[in-house]
């Protein structure tokens, strides 16, 4: 098991390559009738190229990306503000905490029927769902992170002449960053999962909608391309926040 001890992060590509190889091999064995239900990886990649070259994938991907970015940035920002207020001021926490605790467990897609009636089917719908998906967990994590900051640091800062606002910006927020980033990291991936689901159910454009069209045409290769795009985007978003967190906090943690 020496190879296991020497396992480095760069080696993470090896299982992926093995998996793709096995996938290609089994698909080529033709155990399941035809290539329709189980296309080999090479066929999927060929389709990926066609979709990219024709602009279909790019167009749908951009639709999804814009929705995710707008919804996630707005939801995170609002979540940060409300979470900060809840963590910092007891009165805000006592007022909002019961509400947040009640609404937080509702899955983001649970809002879909209600929002379809309120907002109609259009761009606002997926953005609103992603907003909700990001808002509650990030507000919750931010409030928890702020309240978890040792009160003694605040006492020390007071004796050193810091005002309440200065204490918040220079002590509390930096120390709450690890908790805040946990929320951002998890929800950035979740935003992609939610947008795909919303597009599959209600929106005529985007990666999710492309998957639904492919399903009706029995194009497994296109469905798999969309799934790969989804997986890669979730991975990239989560990694982005993980590396940002590392950059901002690893020097003192």
């Amino acid at each position: 098991m020496i190879w296991f001890k020497n396992f480095k992060p760069g080696w993470g590509i090896v299982p992926v390559v093995i998996f793709l190889g096995v996938w290609e091999f089994i698909a080529r064995l033709n155990l399941i009738p035809g290539e329709i239900f189980f296309p080999p990886f090479s066929e999927v990649m060929r389709e990926f190229y066609y979709l990219l070259a024709s602009g279909v994938l790019g167009h749908n991907f951009l639709s999804s990306l814009v929705r995710v970015l707008i919804g996630f940035v707005a939801g995170s920002f609002a979540g940060l503000l409300v979470g900060t207020a809840m963590g910092w001021k007891d009165i805000v926490n006592k007022s909002l905490s019961p509400l947040v605790s009640l609404i937080y467990p509702i899955p983001a897609l649970g809002w879909l029927p209600l929002l379809m009636l309120w907002l109609g089917i259009g761009e606002a719908l997926p953005i609103a769902i992603i907003f909700i998906c990001a808002f509650f967990p990030i507000a919750y994590n931010t409030a928890t992170g702020i309240r978890a900051v040792d009160k003694n640091y605040i006492q020390v800062a007071k004796t050193l002449g810091a005002s309440d606002v200065k204490i918040l910006t220079s002590i509390i927020m930096p120390l709450a960053l690890p908790n805040i980033f946990t929320g951002l990291r998890l929800e950035s991936g979740m935003a992609w999962r939610v947008v795909i689901a919303a597009e599959m159910v209600a929106i005529p454009s985007g990666i999710g909608a492309l998957m639904m069209k492919a399903e009706s045409l029995m194009r497994m290769d296109i469905i798999v391309v969309c799934l790969i795009v989804l997986a890669v985007m979730c991975f990239i978003f989560e990694k982005f926040f993980a590396s940002l967190e590392k950059k901002l906090t690893s020097h003192w943690r």
Binding site: Y153, T159, L160, G161, K166
Partner: protein, 357 residues
């Protein structure tokens, strides 16, 4: 530097506490855990609401927040900001006051130099030893040259040797900067080494405020005496040098050898735990060894306390249970007491003048 006056302070356990701390004085608040020492420190700092009044140089500061009281506060847990490096921790209060960059840099450098931690300036608190953290926290507290320095058991997390050096440095620094300083501790030894005066506090009440010698050799009441270890205190009537750095003093009929520095010994104190007891005559020269009669035995849960009559004095002696069980002690039995030279505490000052506040 201002004097600090506390008038009728009530907060948590503290009831009607009145205390005067003189200008440039090193006052130690001494008492057991939960006595209200840290509460008083927080009252002076303005970190808690309280009843009563606090005056700095005769001016009331009750309405001032901690940031306006010009205090430096060193907390027991130090609480260095973990996300800031040493230099940024020290510079924190200067940044708050918006010092110009050059002046701030120079001040930080000066403080790091004084505290001998210049080489640590870019390190983060997570990578510092206990003693280094101590110095950084002190440098941070001193950055704005506070009028009053408050120290809450700052050496409790250090090992004995480091704490000893830090005590000396702290005292030296306090003299050098001439700051009015209030130091909280439950350690009598620490208090004796550092204090100009000691304020003994017990259950939120000040029991005695006096010089270390007065507190130790003339405890005001049983609570103070018990807290400092209920020492046997003997008045010395006669003292003459025996040469070679030792002197012989006459205490209640007992000729006791003590270290000599040329000054008159007025009292000596022996903690009950520092007196050794033997059933047979101990070997060695007949110095600081006395014959006595056991006049009382009290078996307490944590140790055994004996009363021994020696030359007209009644001395308390403490011993652990396992030693007591190995001996065959009984009231009326003859025993030998041994006073170790370095365990004898000596009072050479003026006749104690108790000050009740």
């Amino acid at each position: 530097m201002p004097s600090v006056e506390l008038r009728n302070i009530c907060k948590h356990i503290c009831r009607d506490v009145c205390l005067d701390i003189f200008d440039k004085e090193f006052l130690v608040l001494l008492g057991p855990n939960g006595a209200g020492k840290s509460t008083l420190l927080n009252v002076i700092a303005g970190l808690v609401d309280y009843e009563g009044s606090v005056f700095f140089d005769g001016e009331p500061v009750d309405s001032l927040p901690p940031s306006k009281r010009e205090i430096g506060y060193l907390f027991q847990d130090l609480n260095l900001f973990p996300h800031l490096n040493v230099a940024s921790n020290v510079a924190y209060s200067l940044r708050i006051q918006k010092w110009p960059w050059d002046a701030m840099e120079a001040r930080v450098e000066e403080l790091l130099h004084i505290m001998k931690i210049k080489h640590l300036s870019s390190r983060y608190p997570g990578h510092l030893s206990g003693g280094e953290k101590q110095r950084v926290a002190l440098a941070r507290a001193l950055a704005l040259a506070p009028q009053v320095l408050l120290l809450d058991e700052p050496l409790s997390s250090l090992d004995m040797q480091s704490a000893k050096y830090m005590r000396m440095e702290l005292k030296q620094l306090q003299r050098q900067l001439g700051m009015t300083t209030v130091y909280v501790t439950h350690d009598m030894k620490e208090a004796r080494e550092m204090a100009d005066r000691i304020a003994v506090i017990e259950s939120g009440r000040l029991e005695q405020v006096a010089t270390p010698g007065e507190v130790f050799f003339s405890p005001m009441n049983k609570k103070v005496s018990d807290f400092i270890g209920a020492p046997n205190i003997l008045d010395c009537t006669c003292c003459h040098s025996a040469g070679r750095g030792i002197a012989e003093v006459e205490c209640g009929g007992l000729p006791i050898i003590v270290p000599d520095d040329g000054s008159k010994v007025r009292k000596i104190a022996l903690l009950p735990r520092d007196i050794y007891i033997s059933e047979s005559k101990p070997p060695g020269p007949d110095v600081n060894r006395f014959k006595g009669i056991v006049s009382g035995i009290e078996v307490a849960p944590d140790m055994v306390r004996l009363e021994v009559e020696v030359g007209g004095n009644c001395l308390s002696v403490e011993m652990p249970h396992y030693i007591y069980q190995d001996m065959h002690l009984a009231v009326g039995k003859e025993v030998f007491l041994i006073f170790k030279l370095r365990n004898i505490k000596i009072y050479r000052g003026e006749e104690s003048k108790k000050k009740n506040v």
